[in-house]
Symmetry: D2
Subunit: 307 residues, 4 copies
């Protein structure tokens, strides 16, 4: 039996390549996560287990796509930056978009038990995703600034809101008290009523999470300051959030390599080739909770992100 | 801190509505499933647990989207038909596409243990998806014929291939023996060498799986012949595959409703309104393993599918 | 000198095929025609020379595209219906769209002097165009109904407005007098103040212009009732508008062929093949000023338009 | 009569905005121009009247679109560069594309008699057009290099071909003689057989035509070296091709302004504001036949082109 008489229906698949040489940002968003958080009793304003799980799912996306060189997450959303020269899947929009959504979802469900050992997953969560194209580096930086500013605004608001709620205010009252307030009002409220200095809260919550690869040639030796995500989340597990610690790390001064054997040193001398510049497509994935709005040091140290 | 200076990046999101009044078929495909099947020791040529799990994930997609009125699955792929008048998510292509991929994936991982109680999931699987638009009913029917013919071709081939393998042939030899053979050659091979009449193999494998909703007004009474999927897969579980049984069911003669209480009968009489025709958007989801290439009885009995 | 190092820029041309098997309507619109009409002293409310010239340009578009089987024009706009099975230019949207705009424009300028022998063209006019896709025949009919209803509404309004202006009212006054009036108010105004029965105005103005091809096998003999456009506009010229006459013609009863020579009759007998049904892709182009909102007789007589 | 029941068909118009902040190149191409050239007895290999007419049509496009800051033409094609920040027509692709095709066509036909006073236009010519987007300045420069290299290759080939034809060779023989030859072979052929030094041929033919605006603040005074197109083609007419002369002009040293009245000088002094940098959106349009492949001096002198 030949299939030819029906195969013509394939011709209705319209090609949908992403414009060449443009940056693609893929943003994954939780679907109906207010309900999902409630059903799984997420801690408020921030549930570190849930954030760690988001980071774990995001890491899996980066592992599948070397061309994704940067990811930024907050709350129930994650944004992925794909290099402008990426050619994966012929740059087909639907293929890239649905694959990212699927990998993210799959890992979120798969690793749930590891991050929520005492909270069974009650029903399968959903994430949608979209691809947005940016022609220049400026827009890419502004995109990620947009998301990090949003993280700050939401976190400050949620910190106040849940402080009020935990202090006995109703949802309606809490909302009313925050209506029309600006950042400084909220900071003052926290300080005056709750003795909380917002600036001292964990960077993890204030800045969101940034995933980047580090140059493996710079991390051969032991380093106390640069901890790859795999170590954080996979070895030590989610119960020991190392987010803040990592954020403290000064990544601008990568660790020096350890002492070399004479053989290695000799081999190097023979080659004397200049190192090919790092392109961010391979190497261990590191999690940071750091400012990505200012140019320095984040972007300046990683010129490959916007190449 | 205002977010306005960066918000302009939102304007780069180009609208991507599906053309109005066209049928949309969303096809979900397993990514690298040869490896995945191997890693989880799927039975060959057909692993009923895996097929049941696919059906379970597909059902979840239909439960989320009332506008998806038909689904067809085989192997590691599933196709969903969305009504031409669907307005969900403003018909945004990326949103619909990624959500379907995510729901499917999420349910596949979530229900894994139920269908594979003795095989731990070793790593999270991925599915991609695409949306194809069809302007007329003819193309929609041809699309599903295309997939069902494909099911048949693949199943016949795989049945032969694995019969040979289980009989001691190497992969290379089995492939060589089947090279250039037609359907009748394969049928004969099965019969002569393995005493297998291909026609007697389960409809489940030969025809794939079809999900449709049934008119709830026709299934009030008890029926032995029409078994909704929820009952098959959720109550009896995957260990008792009821696929073939269902496929035997003659859905063209829906069960008569059982005896009514006088009160109900009275109420009905008062109304006497003509029944609104069934549109396939609500009601229990049923699984079938039946021919959908011929018009009768499948399409003829369900005119709402192509309305 | 090889061109290869720069040729990569070609790869940025993204394919833009029209969805297969959908009707395409290409609508051409005059750009800044209020100014253009004024600069060339078009008669108001309708300048028959200008309308004839529009028809001439539209005819040229149909001559270039056999797949365009219907065109409808009013004022400074023209809509073209392309068969759903058209494969011209690989259905590339930009190519089809720009070519239609260019042919229309080119002919409008080229034939200007023929239709406006005493009015030199002062500057070159511009038309833009767009392509809209429709999946079903119903939408195509509704599209053309939409344009013809628009023709009626505009013509009734303009007839009133210019009657008032020619009667000495200022533009402001005329506008004010018509504000908030309905069709029957306008009809009454025309009848009471100007003794004009709107129904008796030429069909050309009330119904717009419709271009279709007629089956050449039905028009071999001489016919007084069916006048092809070429004859109307090219032979008799624009000064003798034959629009209304044509509109009166009952196209449902095509003229009988004239007497045949015995040789022709013999040849016919030998063939005895059933006539291939007319598909509207060839044959003389005829202009009509007739109702295309009702199914009968326009659409019913030309089933090929919506095939 | 309300139009509402049919107006829904408007909703089928899918938005088609060009991606923000990308350069758009609109390329207009003559349709079936081999036949058109033949029908109008264009001189071979280059008809200066035809090239001047192309330039005139291109100038009209630039006059309509201030955002088009550069145009390059050769043979029967013209490419237009639109600034990346253009917002004209909401950046609607179809609208921009069809309008450019229409303006170009309209002006070509309108000005035909001026450039071909002794050759009546026998039928209306057609041009199609397409829009291609480029995210970076590099691609834009490479695009225009691609077209200018093409100009050179075609012109060298055509110069040889027509020299052979005018020397009595048949079309077949001429084609055969040039088959497989490289640039140096062709140069030699011209020099040996026809005593023609290709390098001495007019820049107009070798380099094509470039249209740019010049800063009006730099061209107030009389200048013999910088001749705006309007002067070339409109005043002196097409019989006096000034292309080569213009190409010789050193545009890098714009003419000094002429002597000023004391009042003007005073007014200037009062202002003392720094001049707003020229953006290429206004000012007289100049035609050049110059190298645009090298950065210097063309691109370096006009930084606004790629801003």
């Amino acid at each position: 039996m030949a299939n030819s008489q029906y195969e013509y229906v394939k011709s209705y698949e319209i090609p949908d390549p992403l414009m060449p040489n443009t940056f693609a940002v893929i943003r994954v968003d939780g679907h109906a996560f207010t309900k999902f958080c409630h059903a799984h009793q997420f801690e408020k304003p921030n549930d570190i287990r849930a954030l760690d799980l988001m980071n774990r799912a995001a890491k899996a996306v980066m592992q599948e796509f070397p061309d994704i060189v940067l990811a930024f997450g907050e709350s129930d959303e994650y944004s992925f930056l794909m290099r402008r020269d990426a050619s994966v899947y012929g740059r087909r929009r639907s293929k890239i978009n649905s694959t990212v959504a699927s990998i993210f979802t799959s890992n979120y469900v798969f690793y749930w038990n590891e991050f929520f050992p005492n909270t069974p997953l009650r029903y399968p969560p959903t994430f949608d995703s979209r691809v947005v194209l940016y022609p220049t580096a400026k827009e890419v930086r502004d995109y990620f600034s947009w998301r990090q500013v949003d993280t700050h605004i939401n976190n400050l608001h949620n910190t106040c809101y849940w402080a009020l709620r935990h202090d006995g205010e109703s949802g309606t009252e809490a909302t009313k008290l925050l209506e029309g307030t600006f950042s400084d009002n909220k900071n003052e409220l926290l300080f005056t009523r709750f003795k909380v200095n917002y600036n001292n809260l964990p960077e993890y919550f204030k800045k969101g999470s940034v995933l980047v690869r580090t140059d493996p040639r710079l991390t051969k030796g032991p380093s106390k300051r640069d901890v790859p995500l795999s170590q954080c989340t996979e070895t030590s597990g989610p119960t020991e959030p190392s987010g803040s610690a990592i954020a403290e790390a000064d990544l601008s001064a990568p660790s020096l390599p350890g002492p070399e054997s004479p053989a290695v040193a000799k081999k190097k001398e023979r080659k004397k080739k200049p190192l090919k510049p790092f392109d961010g497509r391979s190497g261990p994935i590191t999690i940071l909770h750091t400012d990505i709005i200012k140019e320095k040091p984040f972007w300046e140290e990683r010129p490959w992100l916007l190449e």
